[in-house]
Chain length 149, copies 2
């Protein structure tokens, strides 16, 4: 999974976010036949956006698509998805969510499974390191991003 | 509820969406002390956006806010919120969701309640009429918006 083009693209997006001084979370939506449909990273810091999380950005960049385009698709994301991004994956009925890690944050994994979406955790050390560094340096911004405190 | 400034603003947004030829759903986020924080309407048709649903637009237009700003807040929306918008309300822990109607679509109301969010249905005839007209004239676009077919 870690070598999948989707996961590598999500990781590149997370690195891009980190380089921009933003929340270092990236995502990439890949179709059933392995094509990248859209990719994105969290833009809270860069654009003052409370809704452009990585997965929302990937869906947005994929543009308008018929329901059939999401069939069998995988959402790769470098971090366990928050409730909003969990809901977005459920709305469009992606088949699978592959996440980089869930040590720094646990989102809606159980609910995804309840709603019939496969969840795979890659346990990526790089994803975890990116998040730990950001949370350590920007605790307030991180709490803001997950609606805490 | 129907006379609340928040509901009226959401309804104005839905009418604006209809006038633009878009999915006629509006939303408005109101703080605990009754101030409008942000408002928006579905922009699938207007901007080719799969993620700017009304509630996401209202949250986005409210901008970056600390978690405390959402405490006691109400999300007014003209239609029962889809899974993505349900998740967004849960992420930011709004206190209450007031929805215009749930006859043309039922979203995540039960899950909102499970997660401790109050849900009120206004049963607005105007909201229902706006949706019925759109669904009748644009069935494909409506199915696309809710990830169906």
């Amino acid at each position: 999974m870690e070598s999948d083009i989707g996961f590598q693209a999500a990781l590149e997006e997370a690195r891009k976010g980190a380089a921009e001084g933003g929340v270092p979370i990236g995502a990439c939506l890949v179709s059933a036949d392995g094509k990248i449909l859209g990719r994105g990273h969290n833009l809270r810091m860069q654009k003052g956006s409370p809704t452009i999380h990585a997965e929302i950005g990937a869906l947005e960049n994929a543009g308008r698509l018929p329901a059939s385009a999401y069939q069998g698709a995988t959402m790769y994301t470098t971090l366990s998805p928050c409730d909003m991004c969990t809901g977005a994956c459920i709305l469009y009925k992606v088949k699978r969510v592959v996440l980089g890690e869930n040590k720094t944050f646990v989102g809606g994994e159980d609910y995804l499974k309840q709603r019939g979406i496969e969840v795979v955790n890659v346990n990526s050390a790089e994803c975890e390191d990116l998040m730990k560094k950001f949370i350590n340096e920007h605790p307030e911004e991180w709490n803001e991003d997950i609606g805490e405190e």
